[in-house]
Symmetry: C2
Subunit: 262 residues, 2 copies
C-alpha cells in the first residue's frame, strides 16, 4: 500500500480486479497512486481475493446489497457509501474513473475540463481495446493461436492505420492545450486522462516495440514531454518502482513479435 497523506479523509476504497496482471485494473490503480490516496487491491492483497472477484461477476447474480451486478471487473467497492449504508459497487473503468476523479483531484478545474478529461479517457480506452483485439480479433474466449491468421491482419491494420490516427490525435490535443505545456492533456495539472493515456502508451511500447520505435519521432510532445513527465510524477514514479506495478505479460498488451512491425 502506498504511503498516504490523504488516507484519513478518504473512505477505504477497494479495487476488485484479477490478480497478477495490470489489465484494466491498472487505470484505477494509477489514479489512486498519482493522487496518493490509499486503496486495497483485493485481488492482489487478500488471500482469497480472486474468489471475491469471481463471485462478484457470478453469472446468476442479480446484484449485492442494493447494487446491480457488475458485467466484468474492474469494480470499485466503497464500504458504507451505497444504498442503506451498504457498500457501493461501481463497475466499468470509465465510470469508476469519473466517480473517483473529483474525489482524487484528478478531474480538472471546472465542468468543461471534467468532461474533456472523461472524453479523452474514453478515447485512450478505445485504443486500449483495439490493442487487445489485435490478438483476439475473432473470439475473446478463444486462444490467440486459434485466431492467429486473423490477428496478423488485424495487427497490421492497427499498426498502420489506427496507431497513427490515435497518436496523432493525442499529439494535437497536447499541442492545443497550451497551458499544459505538453505535460497534461487538459488544463495545467495532472488528470486521470493523463494516467490512462500514459498506461496505454506504456502497453503499446511493450507490445509493439519496433512499430513504436519507428513512429515515436512523429509525436514529440507525446513521447518526449508527456510520457516522460507522467512517469516522473510524484506517486506514479514511486508506484512504478514498486512491486505493486505488475509487468505486462499475457493480458491486454502482449508481445507477439509476429504482430509487430517486421
Amino acid at each position: 500500500m502506498a504511503a498516504n497523506k490523504k488516507a484519513r479523509t478518504n473512505p477505504p476504497y477497494e479495487l476488485l480486479y484479477w490478480p497478477g496482471i495490470p489489465g484494466r485494473g491498472e487505470f484505477i490503480r494509477l489514479a489512486f497512486e498519482a493522487a496518493g490516496v490509499s486503496y486495497t487491491d483485493i485481488g492482489n492483497e487478500s488471500e482469497d481475493g480472486i474468489k471475491e472477484v469471481t463471485s462478484l461477476i457470478d453469472a446468476s447474480s442479480t446484484g449485492t446489497a442494493g447494487n446491480p451486478p457488475p458485467f466484468a471487473p474492474p469494480a470499485l467497492r466503497i464500504p458504507g457509501a451505497g444504498p442503506s449504508s451498504n457498500p457501493l459497487i461501481i463497475y466499468q473503468t470509465p465510470s469508476i474513473l469519473s466517480y473517483l476523479g473529483p474525489k482524487l483531484s484528478l478531474a480538472g478545474s471546472n465542468e468543461a475540463e471534467a468532461q474533456w478529461i472523461l472524453s479523452h479517457t474514453l478515447t485512450a480506452l478505445d485504443l486500449n481495446n483495439e490493442a487487445h483485439d489485435t490478438h483476439h480479433p475473432i473470439a475473446v474466449a478463444k486462444y490467440y493461436e486459434d485466431q492467429k491468421e486473423e490477428s496478423l491482419k488485424k495487427a497490421r491494420d492497427f499498426r498502420e492505420a489506427r496507431v497513427p490516427k490515435f497518436l496523432g490525435f493525442f499529439e494535437r490535443v497536447l499541442k492545443g492545450n497550451e497551458e499544459g505545456k505538453g505535460r497534461y492533456l487538459v488544463g495545467d495539472k495532472l488528470s486521470y486522462a493523463d494516467t490512462t493515456l500514459w498506461n496505454v502508451l506504456s502497453g503499446l511500447l511493450f507490445a509493439f516495440p519496433k512499430e513504436m520505435e519507428a513512429r515515436k519521432g512523429d509525436y514529440e510532445l507525446l513521447f518526449e514531454t508527456f510520457y516522460e513527465s507522467v512517469k516522473e510524477t510524484s506517486g506514479v514514479k514511486e508506484y512504478l518502482a514498486s512491486d505493486r506495478r505488475k509487468p505486462f505479460s499475457t493480458g491486454v498488451y502482449r508481445h507477439y513479435p509476429e504482430l509487430d512491425r517486421q
Copy 2:
C-alpha cells in the same frame, strides 16, 4: 424538431453527427427526445451540416475556441457554455450522455444511481461496438466484402457467446432492480441507460433477426417488458414515429443475412 415544453430553460444544444444514419448519434438524439428537450441535429438539419461535422474532426485541428479537437463524431456543442463564453464542445457518446444526464433528468435520483446508469450505458455501448465489429473485424476503414471471411467467424462468436452474455446480464440487472418493475435498469424512472440499451436491442433485432427471434424468449423482462415499455415512453414514441428517426441501413447495424443464424 420535437415540440418542447422545457426548451425555454435549456441552452440551444447542437448535435454534430453524420446525416442520414442513426449511428452513435442516435444515443444522444434519444436522450433529448425522451426528455422532451429541443436540440438542433446539425448534420441532418443544416444545409452544409456535414461540412461542420467534417471540419470538426479535421486531422490537423488542435481544437476550436479553447476546446480540444474531438476524436470522432458525435459531438455536442453548446453555444456560450465553454471557455470565455465560447461554445463548449464535448465528444465521445458516454461523455456527452453523462454531461446531459442530470440536465435532462435522465441520470437517476442520487450519486450511486448516476454511476450505475453510466456503467450500464458503457456496457450497452460495448455491445454496440461488438455488433459493429461483426462486419468489420479486421479494418474499420476497409469494405465489408474485403473482410467477409473473418466477419463470418466473428459474427458466429458474437451470436453464440457474446449476445447471450450481454443479454443475460441486462436481464439480471432488470430482475435485481425491483423498483424498476422490469421497465428501468436503475431506480424507478427512465434514464439514458434505458434509451441507450433500447437502441442497441433495436439494432440487434434489425441486424440479426433470426438469432434474436430464437433467443428473445430467454429474456422475458428485457424483450416483453423493458423493450416495449421504452418504445412507448412519451417523447420516444413520438420520435420513433417521426421522420427524424432514420432507419438502420449500412451503419453500425447492418442486415447481412449470411452473418445471422442460418
